[in-house]
Amino acid sequence: MTELTLVQAVNRGLRVALSSDPDVLILGEDVGVNGGVFRATEGLQKEFGPERVIDTPLSETGIIGTAIGMALYGLKPVAEIQFMDFIYPAFDQIVSELAKMRYRSGGQYPCHVVVRAPYGGGIRGGLYHSQSTEAYFAHTAGLKVVIPSNPADAKGLLLTAIHDEDPVIFLEPKRIYRSLTGEVADGDYRVPFGKANVVVEGTDVSLFAYGAMVPPTVEAAQALLSEGISAEVVDLRTLVPLDEKAILASVEKTGRAVVVHEAARFCGFGGELSAILAEKAFYSLKAPIARVTGYDTPFPYALENSYLPNPARIAHAARAAARTQ
């Protein structure tokens, strides 16, 4: 066990994978000599060489297109997109090719690429270094979507991703890359996909969150406790596959749900969660389902703290739900 930040845990995960499997390689912009703009790949090129930790030209189209070719050939490429905001030049390769390759070839061509990208706000990044567009990917059949919220999960989910058989969009909450640390087991271990984590148990209201929204949601739950409201916090961990069972179990217990994400609300992932609950937990619900999310504007710079959900907003919504009989 070592006390690590989230980005260090990612780095360790990559290192374990590179060490144990010669088919694993990393490619992206500035991932080699520079060690990644967030240092996620620090030291890896030195250790594993420029053939396995590849600095590419400035083209996300090229990064994902070539990663797909490598995967078809049998390697296990881990592609880094410098910021999630810059994934769009590769969107065609991701949604038209990567997501559909196994399906369209009748299962002949599995195509296992891990696409890592830091996502989310809170680092004064403005419109183009802050976005959370996980809903685009969650809506795309054929992609798995993973968002860890702490160092131990980051490493364990990343190792699961790298050894999975399907394409994985692995989104890293850059806001908490360094702002918190946690105990991380050494060596190889796996956190399974499709298993949510009940971070705080509670009985009055269920709060659903993932990635960088987990810490403020836990904080909100703690504040609520002092008011006598027992909130349960469920960290989804993987949006696809989704742990519907855990979600339904929580709401069957509490009867009230608040969905938290920093992405814009309209057509965001929260809509899907609400819809699942409104269909399958209908008879358990005692209050309207609330969403605490980013607003339906592009991501602002100076006022990013107003844009982002925080413990106060989350607690406010949870309180309203909990007080509804």
């Binding site: 390689l25 053939e51 590849i54 590419t56 030209p57 083209s59 189209t61 090229g62 994902i64 297109g65 070539t66 990663a67 797909i68 070719g69 490598m70 995967a71 078809l72 050939y73 049998g74 390697l75 490429p77 030049p89 065609d92 390769q93 038209s96 090719e97 559909k100 390759m101 196994r102 399906y103 369209r104 070839s105 009748g106 299962g107 002949q108 061509y109 599995p110 059949a141 054929g142 798995k144 999975d164 058989e165 399907d166 499709g194 696809v240 596959p241 989704l242 519907e244 069972k245």
Partner: protein, 358 residues
Amino acid sequence: MAKAATSKTGSQGSADSFPEDRIVEIYRTEVLARVMDERCLTLQRQGRIGFYVPLAGQEAAQIGSGYALDPSDWIFPAYRELGLALVRGIRAKSLIDQFIGNSADLTKGRQMPNHYAFREQRFVSASSPIGTQITQAVGAAMAAKKRQDPIVTITFFGDGATSSNDFHAGLNFAGVFAAPTIFFCQNNGWAISLPREKQTLSPTLAGKADAYGLPGVVVDGNDVRAVYRAVREARARAIAGDGPTLIEAQVYRFGPHSTSDDPSRYRPEEAVRKAREHDPVLLLQSELIRNRILTKDSDSKIWEELKAEVARAIEAAENTPAVEPLSFFDDVFAQPTPTLEEQRASFDQLLREGVLRP
């Protein structure tokens, strides 16, 4: 520009000579492609297949390059590469199974006609979006190089695809990483209704290779030997570690873009008539007859034989059972997610309750 590029090519690469001993086999493959093309256009008109993309005019380009490859090389095709599939030994029946989308179709009835995938023959899954296979071919070549496998990847695309994002990224990455890839552009003069001259101001498409520090070659795509040689040279260079080559095979699309297209809206029949004077299949036919390698009779026999073979393949494919009604839920992932399992079960129940018919 193209000249410079061509000369660059000439100076390198140790190509083997054209396999004259296999010329009849090569011709047969071209004829088979032509016969299938004509039959498939008819099948589509009769509603027996839903769609078809013809290749007439591009047989020599595809079959010449196909013969220049090693069976271990990987092919990243677009949607027009039926001739190439035939070189790889893919049977007419397999192709027609795919056109129908029946239970023998290796793409399991999921793709439109012409969007094949034949893993065993290293013929990678084709998709509709233009150009996307180009970067993929580069990535596979980088992977082969990493594993020190002595193979190349080759990707096929059209003149229109040179404007795609993946063309730009693919050639650039291939250059920077010296990937053993061959970029084979079939310039058939048209991107649906857009003529080549309006696709780009560049005097040749091969000349675009310069922008990536790569050699580019123009070949007469109606000349099966010229195509063969160009691909052999490019392959030798790639295998030697000297990196990729862009080949522009100049051909002409005789037919419509696809069965959904009506070319009379944008090009005069006159242009097609002129182009047909250089019909690659007929050029080879008359050469073989002129050189007494074939007689008119032996040639006719080839056509008849292949027509009969195709007719049998169609019959067999049409008698193959349809895909299993629930199969469209498979292969989204290696293992279905709970969400997919639930959807499959609910669909199955709708079938069993008679709400839906398969």
